[in-house]
């Protein structure tokens, strides 16, 4: 399948630190792709580069053939890329429904004066937006929680609400930053199923950063491994699990010479 996102030689520096170093990266359309790597490997920085939070220093990123690396975050969102955050960043003091409605901002066009006058157009637009928000709320299993403040929702519900808010922008590519962080194995399983549903039912391409190896290995069609800002491996889950450089990055030098069999076991143990 044709790639929906192509990143070429992307480099991002913070002063003297090279956070992302000349990374080439592609996401095939309607696939589920993961980026993994030890802490501080530059995964979230790479996410930020894609969504326009940080301008890249070298290289290019294009989305469906359009160069996006010079665009503002809101322009990139309009093209169809949306994201969630590692530490949930909901609008904590707005209700669940309001959070989703903010996500629909892109599709609402009423200028301020017609909002003041309350023209039929505006009222129609608002009514549809509300219906759509309600639908999304149901989609993420938060039916009836619409009037609750985001901050008062339980942790798992907050994660789902954040995804619903991201979905409200009607993305073609959804970036999930550690969606299963803080979840127990059962919740992680539900999440895996949910992410699959997003792809299968809504046709959204998914890119995720994840630490839970069970989730990563169970769901990804393609995995890229970053370490110290550099891409050290990519391939299918099976290929990654047996790649000596990956094992080295995760378990430290020496692990690779210990004998593949042994290391493999340890890797999986840690991952599980």
């Amino acid at each position: 399948m044709a790639p929906i996102l192509v990143a070429k030689k992307v480099t991002k520096r913070f002063g003297g630190l090279v956070a992302v170093n000349s990374v080439d990266f592609e996401i095939p359309e309607k696939s589920i792709v993961s980026i993994i790597g030890p802490n501080g490997a530059g995964k979230t920085t790479f996410f930020n580069c894609i969504t326009g939070f940080g301008k890249i220093d070298e290289g290019s990123i294009s989305f469906e053939g359009t160069d996006i690396h010079r665009m503002r975050p809101d322009q990139i969102t309009r093209l169809g890329i949306s994201r969630t955050y590692q530490n949930i960043r909901l609008f904590a003091d707005m209700t669940a429904l309001e959070n989703i409605l903010v996500g629909q901002h892109v599709f609402l066009h009423a200028p301020w004066y017609s909002a003041v006058l309350g023209t039929p157009n505006v009222r129609n637009e608002e009514k549809n937006a509300l219906a759509e928000a309600q639908r999304l709320l149901n989609f993420v299993d938060l039916k009836g929680k619409g009037d609750m403040l985001a901050r008062n929702l339980p942790y798992g519900a907050q994660r789902r609400l954040e995804i619903a808010r991201a979905l409200a922008t009607k993305p073609k590519l959804l970036l999930l930053d550690e969606p299963s962080a803080g979840m127990n194995p059962r919740e992680s399983e539900d999440l895996t199923a949910f992410i699959r549903r997003l792809r299968d039912e809504l046709g959204i391409t998914i890119l995720l950063i994840e630490h839970h190896m069970r989730v990563v290995m169970g769901i990804s069609e393609h995995i890229t491994v970053l370490d110290y800002g550099e891409k050290i491996a990519e391939g299918t889950p099976v290929q990654i699990q047996t790649n000596p450089r990956v094992i080295e990055a995760y378990l430290g030098r020496g692990a690779a010479t210990e004998g593949m069999e042994n290391a493999h076991e340890r890797f999986n143990k840690k991952a599980g």
Binding site: D74, T77, F91, M94, E98, L101, V106, A129
Partner: protein, 577 residues
């Protein structure tokens, strides 16, 4: 941990109270307030201050004692109150003794013999001891007050506060009532004296409030549930009635209050107008704009230059044409000034806008631009608004004749301001409920995330900024016709600060909060002329107390309530879940 000795705790509270008493005395508050009676011939507002301090000290000491013991121990409570009161009196006594033997006036201008005479009750000798004795007795009463059950204490507290309130505003009520005809006038003279309440009036108010308060405490719950269980239509009628009553008072007051109070009310209404404007910028979008006065000035000058029959009048259009132009010009300047700085965040924005306010004021008042804006002499001869046909321009320095109703009196301008305020409140309300309101709220909560959801930050912030500017311009326009002239020197930073402060005190983002805030922060100091000398002291104190005690404001918006009372919100959530 060893528990604090209650006597020591009481002494500390007493000393603190004493320091406050000395402070109030030395800044001259006691002496100035002495000219005002709370109850005629019995107690003046000035003497009321140290009494209130001793009483509060006694009360707090008694409360502390109960806290230390974990229960009320009547004897100890009274003792601690006595000690606290004693110390407040002692400190004042030291001040008097020190002040009468050494001349303090080189440093403390107010430490005059009159003051000390006042503090010693006009007695030649023995006055100091009396001061300590009174302090101790009042402290004892304060301590005992804490021991009263809430059921008795609460009505009494309310009655005391009501008395202070009535004393402060007795002049206002007197004037209003005297203008109401023979019988009301008689009643006014029965209740109020020249500078405070009469004894009869005070007693009536005191027992009246106690009675109402007791009734409310015992029956209020029932009334509330009655209202809550009323059918929808009934509730609506009730609400409409309340609104009508408020509207009747708000619209009728300037007609019966005489020119001075009418003037104050116009000023309040103008601040409400500007507060509603800044509320969009600051309250909704969270942009702290300290240069609000710039747009006020731009609106004022635009109307001035377009309508003045004085030497600086550029055009001679009617007020009704000039106002929309002024609003548009202010909005345009909002865009011009906003674009470069709206990328700046938080505190930096405040500093940048602070600069604008000053630049506009200095430019308007400068000799360099005096050809256009009149420099320090200002623009004068501004035509009053005319409902009807305005005579064509004849010649400079001659006001044109209005063939209809001329809005010349402050009362007339007041109605103009009220209509404008209602219009702005409506616009603000509609905007808040729209996609823009949500976008502003999102930006206020988390700018990065808002941007990542497709909100164009510059555009959205700029709109909030421009709308705020437009309403400030409208405020300036109305102010101009109220005064009939513009001087750059009246466009001070304090105007901007007033508007920000009234929004914060009233409740960020809350429309009724703006009204409450303007009445408290602008109206009260204008009405209480004795206070005006200590205006900034009270202003600062009020702000600090507000931030500590009620940071969400006097009439907070729903979302602010949520933000600042997470614990409560969580409880509610737990109940509904």
């Amino acid at each position: 941990m060893k528990k604090e000795n209650f006597i020591w705790a009481a002494a500390k509270i007493g000393l603190l109270g004493g320091v406050i008493s000395i402070f109030l005395t030395l800044i001259g508050m006691v002496e100035v307030f002495d000219k005002r009676d709370v109850v005629e011939k019995i107690i003046t507002l000035g003497m009321f201050l140290p009494v209130a301090v001793s009483f509060t000290a006694g009360f707090l000491a008694s409360k502390r004692t109960s806290d230390l013991f974990g229960e009320n121990k009547i004897l100890f409570n009274l003792l601690s109150g006595l000690i606290a009161g004693l110390f407040t009196g002692l400190l004042l006594m030291f001040l008097v003794m020190f002040g009468t033997s050494v001349n303090l006036r080189a440093v403390f201008l107010n430490a005059s013999p009159t003051l000390f005479k006042l503090l010693t009750f006009g007695k030649e000798s023995g006055g100091e001891t009396l001061l300590v004795l009174y302090g101790a007795v009042i402290g004892l009463i304060g301590g005992g007050f804490h021991l009263l059950p809430t059921m008795i204490r609460r009505p009494l507290t309310r009655a005391i506060f009501f008395l202070i309130f009535m004393a402060l505003f007795s002049g206002l009520f007197r004037v209003v009532m005297i203008n109401q005809g023979e019988s009301a006038s008689k009643l006014a003279k029965y209740l109020f004296g020249q500078t405070g309440m009469t004894l009869n009036g005070a007693l009536i108010f005191f027992f009246g409030v106690v009675l109402v308060s007791v009734l409310w405490d015992s029956q209020g719950q029932k009334v509330q549930t009655r209202v809550a269980t009323m059918p929808k239509s009934g509730q609506l009628t009730l609400r409409v009635l309340v609104i009508l009553l408020i509207a009747y008072i708000a619209l009728g007051l300037p007609l019966v209050s005489g020119p001075f109070i009418a003037q104050v009310i116009v000023i309040i209404s103008l601040y409400i107008l500007m507060g509603l404007g800044l509320n969009i910028t600051l309250g909704f979008a969270g942009l702290l704009d300290l240069g609000f006065v710039a747009f006020y000035a731009i609106g004022a000058y635009t109307v001035g230059l377009l309508t003045s029959y004085g030497p600086f009048g550029l055009q001679h259009v009617s007020f009704w044409i000039a106002v929309p132009i002024a609003v548009l010009v202010a909005m345009m300047f909002g865009a011009i000034l906003g674009l470069p700085v709206l990328g700046v965040r938080g505190d930096y924005l405040a500093i940048a806008t602070l600069g604008f306010g000053e630049i506009v004021r200095l430019l308007a008042g400068s000799d360099f631009l005096a050809k256009f804006f009149g420099g320090p002499q200002g623009v004068i001869g501004i035509q009053k608004p005319c409902l009807g046909i305005l005579e064509a321009f004849v010649k400079t320095d001659v006001p044109r004749v209005c063939g209809g109703i001329e809005l010349a009196k402050p009362q007339d301008i007041y109605y103009l301001a009220v209509v404008s305020a209602i219009l702005i409140a409506f616009i603000a309300w509609r905007l808040r409920e729209s996609r823009l309101g949500r976008a502003w709220m999102a930006i206020r909560e988390d700018e990065d995330v808002a941007e990542a959801l497709g909100i164009n930050l510059v555009q959205t912030k700029l709109l909030a900024y421009m709308l705020g500017a437009a309403f400030a311009g409208l405020g300036g326009a109305i102010f101009t016709v109220l005064v009939g002239s513009i001087f750059a020197s009246s466009m001070q930073l304090i105007v901007s600060i007033n508007v920000v402060a009234l929004i914060i005190v009233g409740g960020m983002g809350s429309i009724p909060g703006v009204i409450v805030g303007a009445i408290t922060l602008i109206g009260l100091p204008e009405l209480l002329r004795e206070v005006s000398e200590f205006r900034f002291l009270l202003y600062g104190t009020t702000l600090i107390i507000m931030m500590l005690a009620k940071p969400e404001g006097l009439w907070p918006s729903q979302s602010a309530k949520r933000e600042l009372h997470h614990a409560d919100a969580d409880n509610v959530a737990a109940e509904t879940a």
